[in-house]
Symmetry: C2
């Protein structure tokens, strides 16, 4: 990596990626907690969703995104997708020296800190649940904790259809969550980056006594600690007009921008489309 | 193309492709109507769904699948996906001499033959509806027909979640179809290969007076006519044990087989996974 005089390694961006728009909830949290950092975001909208695909395929896709982010000269990477964190994080770490964090470990850590009765529920995609990665991370922190997982494949399409507050979403949530509710968990991890967008429904179904954990907050905190430890924090705010936040997608830049602008207060500048299959 | 003595061009397979499992409803109809034909089926399960993606991306994917099917030495191709038929058929026809048919034209033709009040509804993915391809084909056949389209993005996830007979599917169908019902159409095209699997719900919501058109039947008939015209029909049934039907996917062969076996009476032998990105 060659670095020009004006651009120190601290001034390089953080790479954040997801299968689509969901990871924007993580990017938003990073913007809030470490506002000096530049971000290069990639959403794999041409191949979304990841949650129902195999480990082999999700790992291949994540590896192509790693190549793209390497070319963008990022100083650290956040895998802002639970399925990719579950399936591909270990593999990515083996293939690069750039520090990488996922969303699963921070989510597990928060939940273990929050639970009082040592019963934690996890809702996520089929891929994340079947990988049992949350269970493994949680057991490493406290082996006495009981972990109950439940795949909720319809939540992502319902969110993407905009049914954030709707009787149908309530009905589906009621079905998915009934066994978790009956089991007496006191903590529920939202193990997919889309789920914070239906927090109201989830809260209503689970009741006030269950704490909902959104890994995005803790992930941004962990990123900040990592950058501090490695002396990589950006000390000064990038000048205005310097494209602090850049967004790339593999399909439908307009549609992505539209969704992004509905969840960001600021509005994003523009998303560019790239051919991700070329990064091998 | 070199053809061995045992294998005439008539004995070569028909290629059938879809973004995933939906096209199996078309393959099933081909098996019924022309039982002597061999079939090579490809389902792009690593990149499913197509319905919410751009024309550029769907065309790129379809072109890769064309390359794969060419390598499999097919004598004809059926694009058993409405979105790919809408977005990519013209482009594919320009790139090969192999005869190709889609599902849109046969569906349009049947609907025009069926309607009495000249009001036809079309339900499909966002891509198929926004392409207005059904409207164009129908107007070519009879310009006096009024065509009303409605995108139904939640139907595919509901079918894939197995909610074929369920109050939630009824509720969502009621919302999607209310404007079509009010408009007084007497014919409704099921413009996505998943939709015949919720035919019961659609029938209930639309009422007995509306005829539901499933393009799969007419597509298989049109394929038969095409093969007859070109002298390409297979006159003799392939010997038992000769792999008459072959299934390829880009991800999750096991999951595909499971779904396929739930809709086929025979059961399919085995699905093989290939890397579709390599076919450029």
């Amino acid at each position: 990596m060659t670095i020009s005089e004006e651009q120190t390694i601290n001034g390089l961006p953080v790479g954040v990626f997801d299968s689509g728009v969901g990871g924007l909830t993580v990017a938003r949290e990073i913007m809030r907690q470490i506002p000096n950092e530049r971000i290069v975001y990639f959403g794999d909208t041409a191949r979304v969703p990841y949650g129902s695909k195999s480990q082999e395929t999700v790992t291949k896709y994540s590896r192509q995104i790693l190549r793209f982010l390497q070319q963008q000269r990022v100083k650290a990477i956040v895998v802002a997708c639970n399925t990719a964190s579950a399936y591909a994080l270990d593999q990515l770490e083996e293939e690069t020296d750039i520090p990488i964090i996922g969303v699963v470990k921070p989510g597990a850590k928060t939940a273990v800190g929050v639970t009082r009765n040592k019963k934690i529920g996890v809702i996520a995609t089929e891929g994340t649940i079947s990988s049992e990665i949350y269970t493994r991370y949680i057991k490493k922190l406290d082996e006495k904790v009981e972990v109950l997982g439940k795949a909720c494949p319809l939540f992502v399409p319902l969110v993407e259809e905009g049914l954030l507050e709707d009787p149908v979403t309530d009905e589906i949530a009621g079905r998915y969550l009934s066994s978790l509710k009956d089991s007496g968990i006191d903590t529920l991890i939202l193990g997919c980056t889309h789920y914070p967008l239906i927090r109201g429904t989830l809260k209503r179904v689970m009741g006030e006594e269950v704490t909902l954990v959104n890994p995005a907050y803790e992930t941004a905190r962990e990123l900040k600690e990592l950058l501090e430890e490695k002396g990589l924090l950006n000390e000064t705010h990038p000048p205005l007009g310097s494209n602090q936040y850049q967004f790339y997608v593999s399909d439908g830049a307009d549609k992505f921008q539209h969704f992004a602008n509905s969840i960001f207060k600021y509005g994003i500048l523009a998303a560019k489309q790239i051919n991700i299959e070329e990064y091998n």
